[in-house]
């Protein structure tokens, strides 16, 4: 199978969906002439004149306006430079986009995709490094996806664009240049479906986005020590695929949830609590969580490394879970 980068897969998804459906359009800061802050959409504006729009730096109005456009029958994709900037538009995201369908008793449809690059990469500092999924999982109304592989970058973005509901599409900046197999032709990854990427009998590592790759690396190191870890890519964080999560946890009885967003009240906390409610008698150890330390993301490389979960942190948690008797 051919191998392409995460960024190329993203671009293919966008291009194919714009060609397939004339209602789809893309807007954001620096998106048309520049092709996006990471250049991932270069050339799209020429291929689809009038459907790739450069905007002023007005995040609240960009979110509100793409919401308004979705209500009248178009299918907007809004590109936000950095996930951190979602915080500028929280009214439009939460009070409006996430809520209007429900508040209208189902009368309004909100087929809206908001793309936001997240995560820490090369000392971008506290305003360009955050992972904010926990906010959008805590507050109802968004489907939240976070692809880890080029294949899912394509498949999840396409499914997000075809969804009738608001989707927050989070992509880790460190993934853009990562290569992986992507089949030719149509690739659709269903929303709300996790995947067991590596089977194992001793413990389960639950993760997504960049941290999933750290879990895969940890699983390789554990295998060398005779510990077989199952690695599950959650892919969609809401609606979460509890069936797959519960099945793997029930099989191994030992679970580590790892993510780059903060550990305190992060997705791992909800997953751990639910697993303990549902599988108390089958768990052999308390569910462990790996996440960022509870401080803003620092600038200096050694500080950033200390705060963001590393392979060693996942290994340490896995061994603690394995040591439990």
């Amino acid at each position: 199978m051919r191998e392409i980068t995460f960024a190329e897969a993203t671009r293919e998804a966008m291009e194919e969906e714009m060609a397939r459906d004339p209602r789809v359009f893309l807007m954001g800061e620096d998106i048309a002439k520049q092709g996006g802050v990471f250049g991932q959409f270069r050339g799209l504006a020429e291929r689809f004149p009038g459907r790739v729009l450069d905007t002023p730096i007005s995040e609240p109005t960009l979110v509100g306006a793409t919401l308004g456009a979705s209500l009248v029958g178009t299918r907007p994709v809004l590109d936000i430079h950095f996930a951190d900037f979602l915080l500028l538009a929280m009214d439009e995201l939460i009070n409006q986009a996430a809520s209007l369908r429900y508040m209208s008793g189902g009368r309004l449809q909100v087929p809206l995709v908001i793309r936001a690059p997240d995560g820490a990469l090369r000392s971008a500092g506290a305003h360009h490094s955050k992972s904010l999924e926990a906010l959008f999982l805590h507050l109802p109304g968004f489907k939240v996806v976070a692809p880890a592989t080029p294949k899912d970058a394509k498949g999840l973005l396409k499914s997000a664009i075809r969804s009738e509901d608001p989707v927050l599409y989070l992509e880790h900046k460190a993934l853009y240049s990562r290569k992986g197999p992507v089949p030719e032709g149509e690739v659709l990854t269903p929303l709300g479906q996790a995947e067991v990427l590596r089977e194992g009998r001793d413990l389960t590592l639950l993760s997504y986005s960049l941290t999933l790759h750290k879990c895969l690396e940890a699983a390789g190191l554990l295998e060398a020590e005779g510990i077989f870890a199952e690695v599950v890519d959650l892919k969609t964080l809401y609606p979460l695929d509890w069936d797959t999560v519960l099945a793997s946890a029930a099989k191994t009885g030992r679970v580590v949830v790892a993510h780059e967003t903060w550990r305190f009240l992060g997705p791992g906390a909800e997953i751990a609590a639910t697993l303990e409610e549902k599988l108390w008698s089958r768990l052999k150890a308390p569910v462990h969580r790996v996440g960022a330390a509870h401080v803003p993301i620092p600038f200096s490389p050694p500080l950033e490394k200390r705060v963001i979960p590393q392979v060693a942190d996942i290994l340490k948690a896995a061994k603690e879970v394995m040591a439990w008797r």
């Binding site: 609240p60 109005t61 306006a65 209500l71 069936d243």
Partner: protein
């Protein structure tokens, strides 16, 4: 210009709102309500220009806009009552009325919340090659929000078909406009290159004519326009507002739009009988609306878990706990 229909809209809004006030005080309407009494001529005059395919966004004081655009009074009253037959199945309430069948993209509990949505609806119409326009209602308090300024900029930049309608009733909740805003409205709107008109918001025909003039620009694809209707809410910010922040004499500058227009119609030769018969027919309609709301069932509590998403999701009971 259909003068009798203007009067019908003014009358319907006024008498709907008077019923709402009484029913709220009687404890039949949950939550809290913001009445449109005093401002009726703005909604009636602007939305007389509504055509199918147009859209509007409204505010927390949105009953008048919804009625003027033709949202059915019975399902609207039922919504205010929180009943399952309400226009939003009881999930919206007074401040959050939505009815896309009439282009109504929502009353909004967030001041200025509708502005970016209206701008985006205008963008959507243009991208689809449709002819409609978007009526974007907001109050003077909304002009303090960043999205007001961002929205004017984006609508002007992209020449979007949006008519901004500022209902300046002098107060943002309880704080006077002049106490809280440094800019001059006409100059501000002019800085964005948007055509601006100010109008006496108590005079339905003046509002209608000013809107007509501005819409010629908007409907022709010339970009947005801005109407400032100077008006007054005769009631408090909300029902129960002690109104310590304003003096009674201030209201004298703002004639009652309903009384004013009734007198004008009589002077123009419309018969008392015609008006009486219109009023009686509206009274019946509104009585029926209240009866419908009162007789309607409460929503089944299970419905609280419906309508979040269009696409079905697997049901995990612990998430609905």
């Amino acid at each position: 210009m259909n003068r009798v229909e203007f009067y019908r809209t003014l009358y319907r809004i006024r008498r709907f709102e008077e019923r709402v006030e009484a029913l709220f005080r009687a404890g039949k309407i949950p939550g809290f309500v913001h009445l449109y009494i005093g401002q009726e001529a703005v909604a009636a005059g602007v939305l007389a220009h509504y055509r199918p395919g147009d859209y509007l966004t409204s505010t927390h004081r949105g009953h008048g806009h919804a009625l003027a655009v033709g949202v059915e009074p019975g399902s609207m009253m039922a919504e205010l009552f929180g009943r399952s037959t309400g226009v939003c199945r009881g999930k919206g309430g007074s401040m959050h009325l939505f009815d896309p069948r009439r282009g109504m993209l929502g009353a909004n509990g967030i001041v200025a919340g509708g502005i970016p949505i209206a701008v985006g609806a205008g963008l959507g119409l243009r991208l689809k090659g449709k002819e409609g326009v978007v009526f974007c209602f907001f109050g003077d308090g909304a002009t303090g929000r960043g999205v007001f300024h961002e929205g004017l900029n984006l609508a002007a930049l992209w020449k979007l078909p949006v008519l901004f309608v500022l209902e300046n009733n002098l107060y943002a909740s309880t704080t006077g406009f002049a106490e809280s805003h440094a800019f001059h409205m006409e100059a501000l709107v002019g800085a964005y290159g948007i055509p601006y008109r100010a109008v006496n918001g108590q005079d339905v025909e003046a509002v209608y004519l000013a809107t007509e003039e501005l819409l010629q620009v908007v409907r022709a694809g010339g970009g947005p326009a801005f109407l400032e209707a100077r008006t007054y809410r005769f009631k408090g910010h909300y029902v129960g507002d002690p109104e310590r922040y304003r003096k009674r004499e201030e209201a004298k500058g703002f004639p009652d739009p309903l009384v004013l227009y009734r007198e004008r119609l009589l002077a123009l030769g419309v018969s008392e009988t015609t008006l009486k018969s219109l009023e009686e027919s509206e009274e019946r309609l509104l009585d029926q609306a209240v009866e419908f709301a009162e007789a309607s069932p409460w929503p089944d509590p299970a419905e609280a878990l419906e309508d979040l998403f269009a696409e079905p999701t697997r049901n995990y009971p612990w998430e609905g706990a």
